[in-house]
Symmetry: C2
Amino acid sequence: MELDERKKKILQAVIRNYLETGEPVGSRTISKYTDLNLSSATIRNEMADLEEMGYILQPHTSAGRIPSDKGYRFYVDAMMEEKNREVVEMNELLVQRQDKMETLLKQVARVLAQNTQYATMISAPQTKRNKLKFIQLSKVDEEQLLAVIVIEGNVIKNNILSVQEELTDETILKLNILLNTNLNGLTIDEINLGIISRMKQQAGTHGAIVGEVIDAVAEAIRAEEDLEIYTSGTNNIFRYPELADQQRASELINTFEEKQLLGELLQETTAGNGAETTGIQVYIGEETPVHSMKDCSVVTATYELGDGMKGTIGIVGPKRMDYDKVVGTLRTIQTQLDELYRKKDND
Amino acid sequence: MELDERKKKILQAVIRNYLETGEPVGSRTISKYTDLNLSSATIRNEMADLEEMGYILQPHTSAGRIPSDKGYRFYVDAMMEEKNREVVEMNELLVQRQDKMETLLKQVARVLAQNTQYATMISAPQTKRNKLKFIQLSKVDEEQLLAVIVIEGNVIKNNILSVQEELTDETILKLNILLNTNLNGLTIDEINLGIISRMKQQAGTHGAIVGEVIDAVAEAIRAEEDLEIYTSGTNNIFRYPELADQQRASELINTFEEKQLLGELLQETTAGNGAETTGIQVYIGEETPVHSMKDCSVVTATYELGDGMKGTIGIVGPKRMDYDKVVGTLRTIQTQLDELYRKKDND
DNA sequence: GTTAGCACTCCTCTTTATTGAGTGCTAATA
DNA sequence: TATTAGCACTCAATAAAGAGGAGTGCTAAC
């Protein structure tokens, strides 16, 4: 059987209506509220066909039809009309000076959740190979040394080291030079035992400190490599009865709190299978890799903050989410983040 | 009417039983499972008295009794037997090197949630007046300057500043001396316009940079002053039917996500009204200042990490929470955090 | 190919028992 | 005077039965 123009129109009408109401859609509704001018009986025949083809299904014998995963998929792939959503607050917020990546990401998640009324998550941008850019030791007081470690992409980590011996300013200067000349530009894999022992030798009596600093560098890079994720609006799931029952809600909220699974989900998108052109991907129902979201749809978008720093934004809602709006909003935010980076760069 | 020994025993039995089962407790149950050797009829008379006195109440005419808020209060104040809870994982986790306060607090919240099966929250320790301890500018590359700001209590903040002019190492050294000599040891209120303009004058052509650094300092101190809160185990509320219905759960989860109200709640405890001796406080039902928790009990404990750095831990659960266990666990953790600080200090 | 008409299905909501745990009260007992 | 046995009564919870209605599939006519 073929999906002709009329069937498409009916399918679209069923899905649109179901997205709005969340109730099964009957033939009479379609007959009345479309410009097809067909009686409910005709619609019924067509709907029976659509059901046979797998695009819609009946919850029970005498109920209207609801879209199947296949139906949603067809809608998203072929019939969606992206709404170009203004994200007003977004603009205002982003203009503020945001030195801290963390604050920015939290805000994006928050605004997005308020805007869409779904649950949102966002992963911090990452480069694949983190290189060391800069190290600085300084004396905080007699017993404490501060090590500041800057990684490519201006990620900064701090570490307080306790020292026994009193260090002169000159010694610290020397250590700084030693550390920077030897380590700058290296990734974690490139800092090998050879380099380390050579440096310790050169440091002489202060070899121990060099060792500690190197440990701190390793830890800093590693910490940067595991994914930081911020979420918002998890309690929006209670807005949708099909997700709000105890078991489902509990599982979902747990997933959002644990964050580990979210990481895998977001990274799958960043890796970039499918939808490479736009960086936006839609998972419907069983398509999502995360089991607790099998009754949800997930829309993810990759964003780039220059330098190949890629992160991912995700929106989780019911299968009957407003795909048009969500995709539109995400695209707006992609653009805004891109602009933000450029602006910051030229500041 | 007086609360004699027998009435106390019966009250205790009612509460203990209700804590376990969550079901109203009948007279026959009490008669059978206590060593009072009284018939259910006698118990019924006593229970009628206890109800009149306000310690217990009936959900409806022909049901058993459940504790009232007043009943719980009496139990907590007079009849509780703290269980000295071993928090094994806690011990293991804390021994690990924890340079980052954030990681430590997240772990405490997490372990506590797993241990008690309630929702937990913890606020980062705070000093009242944050003094500047140390500033350091360094050149990351031609266009960027890194400002590291250390606040009393070894809280470290970073800031990248963009600069137009090329700065020599010597200039930076001078600026560092200028900043440290003028600002160290000052609180945010003590850095006034006089100091600022004097410094700018001394900095000459680099006045703009000084201005930016001072802004960064102000921001850093302010950021430190607003309360950071970490939560865990929010989805534990689904374990307790009396909290798991949609509306209540949604409100609670929202409170935990927004965090602002939690801050007020935790700070009320830190302020220290009541229970000063132990730093542990129990809010039952309507007693909590947070409306969404009116069907919950909240137990909070203040902890100290030396230097007058005080923070608060909170546990939120149903009114029939295992007070004995919760209070015992919190006390253990107080001790452990105290020991942790001492150990770190002598490292 | 389209439509009107009708019997049929099955969910939903309401109404009506039925059950059972637990009470309060009274009268008998120690 | 305190305790207890006994009994009628209450009321939530559960099940069973019935009414209503939205929507379908099918058939026959247009």
